[in-house]
Amino acid sequence: MYDFNALYEANTLQEALELKATYPHALLLAGGSDILIKLRDGKYTGCDLISIYTLDELRGVELLDDGTIVIKPLTSFTDVAQNPILLKYVPTLCEAVEQIGAPQVRNIGTIGGNICNGVTSADSATTLKAYDAMLVIESQKGKRILPYLEFNLGPGKVDLKEDEILTAITISKESYNATYGHYIKYAKRKAMDIATLGCSVNVTLSGDKSKIERLRIAFGVAAPIPVRGINTEKETQGHPVNAELLNLIRERVLDDVTPRDSWRASKEFRLHLIQELAVRATREAIIKGGGSIDD
């Protein structure tokens, strides 16, 4: 038996928004694989919950006429991993969420819950950041659209007001078109583990595959929140695809991150992982994009 106070069950998004406006302090319960466990730990004892888990209108993936991919927030990791639209256009996201937990966790865990938790280790976060995902956030007062890059305010803190609900995650065609990505999760076990470090890279190559037109790189657990490697991205733009590119990345990524010591790994080991994973993920992304690269 869970030790919460009231459970408000929303049957429609409209109802969920009303409930969130009426009970602003109530926690929004999506799949519950974080909140229910924290409840058991006594962290949220006596809290009120608004369950949105059964809202199928917030579940699924769509491709709009202009090529925008819309991922509804309650889509489970299993459904993200198997979705034909995502497998075709953003397979890196499918590969990333396949590395979360185990089948039971991927069946209950939702992509929206993963990013609204605001933890730096979220496996979907790095790839969504690397693809410049946009977030649609709604309240009874209206709708706003926010770049996911601006969503994380600090560890476990996101730009979601008390009456707001994340209702869609979108990726524009410009962001995924002719773009190839790779995600590496470094963890001690292959399953049921939290990333010691995560790195997601995607590249858009010139027509003859000799130059980087655009490189985007994001890290998890390399800073208090999932971060983009802005300095690295600027300096690699237009760079020839060669061994020098990898050396440049190895140097520049250190300016983009602020990892810390934790029981999982020391700061020094994380810095080493950041450099090594950035290079490996870049190399894989270039190969997927049809380019070739030697060390």
Binding site: A6, I37, R40, Q104
Partner: protein, 163 residues
């Protein structure tokens, strides 16, 4: 304390339960439903001992509110056993391969293995290991569990081919 009526299908039978909204699905199944194959393990979704199938997919029944079961199709180990009470192929394979020692993880492992043994194409041992990665066993060392699942999957695929 708020109570609510929940209608769902459990092991092929339509049921209605009147539950405290704070119950987990495991509380409902082990309590009013009387299905004690489900084991209360780690409480945090790591050991898989509470695994049941919901609409055909494995879930940890402890990390699932009972009220979410409304309208769902739930299968526990009791629903895997043959109607006459005899062991089904996967249960017999666990016995034959020595995949059961203390037994507390076994119901969860068998539930996690159902989607694997129903696949149309054979899995590699690595794929089987990935699909049972949400279940922990401290006795067997997993080899014999993988053997039992692999054997049953092969047998079922062969039977399907025969028609």
């Amino acid at each position: 304390m708020t109570k609510k009526s929940i209608k769902c299908r459990v092991n092929g039978v339509n049921r209605e339960y009147f539950v405290d909204v704070r119950s987990s699905l495991m509380d409902l199944l082990r309590g009013p439903a009387g299905l004690d194959s489900i084991k209360h393990g780690c409480d945090v979704g790591e050991c898989g001992a509470c695994t049941v199938l919901i609409n055909g997919r494995p879930f940890n029944s402890y990390i699932y509110l009972a009220v979410w079961a409304e309208g769902k199709e739930i299968v526990t180990l009791e629903g895997v056993t043959n109607p006459d009470g005899s062991l089904s192929d996967i249960q017999q394979a666990f016995v034959d391969e020595g995949a059961v020692q203390c037994g507390i993880c076994t119901p969860g492992f068998i539930m996690a293995s159902i989607p694997i043994i129903n696949q149309e194409t054979p899995s590699t041992r690595e794929e089987i290991r990935r699909q049972i990665s949400g279940n922990l066993c401290r006795c067997t060392g997993y080899q014999k569990i993988v053997d039992a699942i692999e054997k049953t999957q092969k047998k079922r695929i062969a039977e399907k081919k025969k028609g």
